[in-house]
């Protein structure tokens, strides 16, 4: 089992917008390695003839008719928002100065 490297943790942290310090990278690399090692044990019992699955139930084609259902009111939709303005969700600056 190849170990999770420090660089891989740094890459994941960047994708997840997490700021990790040097020690933390080592710490999480070890932890992630353990977790992936544990999950990898599944492959010991999964045989060639067991296809990978993304859903526990053998269902297909669950669809709904194209009929409008009531939406939330804007007040309800925004009720959990930390900040709002002009009936819209207000989010912090996305990009820094150019």
């Amino acid at each position: 089992m190849p170990g999770i490297t420090r660089e891989e943790v740094a890459h994941l942290a960047r994708l997840a917008r997490l700021e990790l310090q040097g020690e933390e990278l080592d710490h999480f690399a070890g932890q992630l390695d353990d977790i992936i090692g544990a999950v990898a044990r599944v492959s010991e019992v999964a045989d060639q003839d067991v296809p990978p699955t993304s859903h526990p139930l053998p269902l297909t084609n669950v669809m709904r008719p194209d009929e409008v259902r009531p939406s939330l009111t804007p007040e309800q939709a925004l009720s959990g928002a930390p900040a709002q303005e002009q009936q819209r969700f207000k989010v912090p600056q996305i990009l820094g100065e150019e």
Partner: protein, 502 residues
């Protein structure tokens, strides 16, 4: 790079061979979103069409819109694609506030439709086959408003405001295979492809595909390789090019820009670029290196879509006539040239003329009004032909009034003017403005007699057999009746009174 630093288009094509890839997003015209029952009506007040599912609330579960899937299959079939027997949705993970879920539900390695083609016809009639890689289902994102910057752009903004009404509206993304061998016609092929696709989507009735409203958006991928070589160059991706003309301009600009960079020994950076309508240029967006790591994985909250072959065949059986086939058929029925048909197409008049003919008009008359007076008005007002406040039925009525002699050409124009001005339907306008041709023979006869009396010399010439001179008298009568007479009848009366024969 400014426009002046570019290599001329001709020089660029002397040295390089362009390869394009086009990605088109089509917003479906379903009543509800792709994974929840929220309405998709445009123009609703902010955040009034959202629910726990499209807001990404914990515990909410998506359910696929059946019409969304059906529309995707129809599009796939019309593009000559294979329809997957089994496929899944995938999560495309990214951090950006336009999707509150922090991922977009899309399809990754199992698109619902793949391996097709679309034949597009260029303006001179040449047919170019564009191969389709895939068409897959996904959802649109919310709308951001950036506040605090000078230009409303994201750069320099203090904060942003999000309206999630659009988040979750069904999208079909259609991706071409690399388009090779178009050479100098590459920009034209790109435009013709998007135009053809738009017509096709409209014919399938799955979306209105109005580019100016963002219902159809195109990304233009382009690279150059030295002529005679095989290996693709590095590509740029110009995002959200939102009109047919812009698609052509963006491709052309990128060919010239790439050529300039490559010819001066530089390298093209793989990046997204923004297109600017004002001058047709593109500027650098974000550099695509590792930014494009979306950690796709199969969507665990949705079960696979496995369209039965029966369903697929049912949908195939009711596909409408393809737009290109229909256009060629109409061109033959109307007896016009490729060039004239292209003008009609460019003016967005095909459906209008067809509807006018269906409402009883002669095709030549229908073409004359839509491509003449009405096209001129649309152009003046800066609107699409179809947006003019006159219907094909009303135009057909005007042509009927001309055909039965109630209106002459000039009066017909005034009638149309009245309809456009909101004065009512053609008959109302004719009534209110008093535009009927003077068919009262008595009144007309008086006008003819007066004209003859006032132009004795000309009248003598006509009596003497110079029938061609009658035009001047006809003109005088038309003037006296303020254009409200039937010129042919006036001519008859003049010749009759002067005892002359044609």
């Amino acid at each position: 790079m400014t426009v002046t630093d570019l290599v001329s288009y001709e020089d660029a094509l002397d040295t390089y061979d362009p390869v394009m890839g086009l990605e088109v997003h089509v917003e479906l015209g379903t009543k509800t979103k792709m994974f929840c029952g929220c309405s998709t009506t445009l123009g609703a007040e902010p955040n009034s069409q959202t629910c726990p599912t499209c807001l990404g609330m914990p515990g909410s579960l998506p359910v696929v819109n059946a019409i969304g899937v059906e529309s995707a299959i129809k599009i796939g079939l019309a593009l000559n694609c294979t329809i997957a027997e089994w496929c899944r949705f995938a999560r495309k993970n990214y951090f950006y506030p336009d999707m509150p879920k922090n991922f977009q539900t899309s399809q990754y390695d199992e698109p619902i439709a793949f391996d097709g083609y679309l034949d597009v016809q260029l303006e001179d009639g040449e047919v170019f086959r564009v191969h389709i890689e895939r068409a897959h289902m996904e959802e649109d994102t919310g709308k951001s408003t950036h506040v605090g910057g000078a230009t409303g752009r994201i750069q320099g903004a203090r904060h942003s405001l999000l309206d999630y009404n659009r988040a979750g509206i069904p999208l079909i993304e259609i991706v071409t295979k690399p388009i090779e061998g178009a050479g100098e016609r590459a920009p034209e092929v790109a435009k013709a492809y998007v135009a053809e696709l738009r017509e096709l989507i409209k014919a399938l009735d799955v979306s209105e595909a109005r580019m100016e409203q963002g219902q159809m958006r195109c990304d233009v991928n382009l690279s150059l390789r030295p002529k005679g070589t095989e290996k693709f160059g590095t590509r740029s991706e110009t995002k959200n090019v939102n009109s047919l003309r812009s698609v052509e301009r963006a491709a052309r600009f990128e060919i010239q820009r790439h050529a300039a960079v490559l010819s001066s020994g530089g390298t093209i950076i793989q990046e997204t670029r923004h297109f600017h309508e004002e001058d047709g240029s593109t500027t650098s967006g974000r550099i695509k290196e590792e930014a494009e790591d979306y950690r796709y994985f199969p969507e665990p909250d949705l079960v696979p879509v496995a369209p039965s072959r029966e369903w697929v065949e049912e949908l195939r059986a009711v596909l409408p006539e393809l737009p290109r086939v229909r256009r060629n058929r109409l061109r033959e029925e109307w007896g016009i040239s490729e060039h004239d048909m292209q003008s009609i197409l460019n003016a967005g008049a095909v459906d209008l003329i067809t509807a006018t003919v269906e409402a009883g008009a002669d095709s030549a008359a229908a073409r004359k009004w839509w491509m003449g007076e009405l096209a001129r008005r649309a152009n003046e007002d800066g609107v699409e032909l179809a947006a003019l406040p006159i219907t094909p039925e009303q135009v057909a009525r005007v042509t009927a009034l001309v055909a039965d002699g109630s209106l002459n050409d000039k009066l017909a124009r005034q009638t149309i003017e009245g309809v456009l001005a909101g004065e009512g339907d053609p008959d109302t306008v004719v009534e209110k403005r008093g535009l009927k041709v003077v068919s009262d023979e008595g009144a007309l006869g008086t006008a003819v007699d007066e004209a003859i009396a006032a132009n004795a010399a000309i009248a003598d010439k006509i009596r003497g057999g110079k029938v061609a001179a009658a035009g001047a008298l006809v003109g005088a009568v038309m003037k006296a009746t303020r254009g409200q007479a039937d010129a042919a009848r006036v001519r008859e009366l003049i010749l009759e009174r002067l005892g002359a024969k044609e």
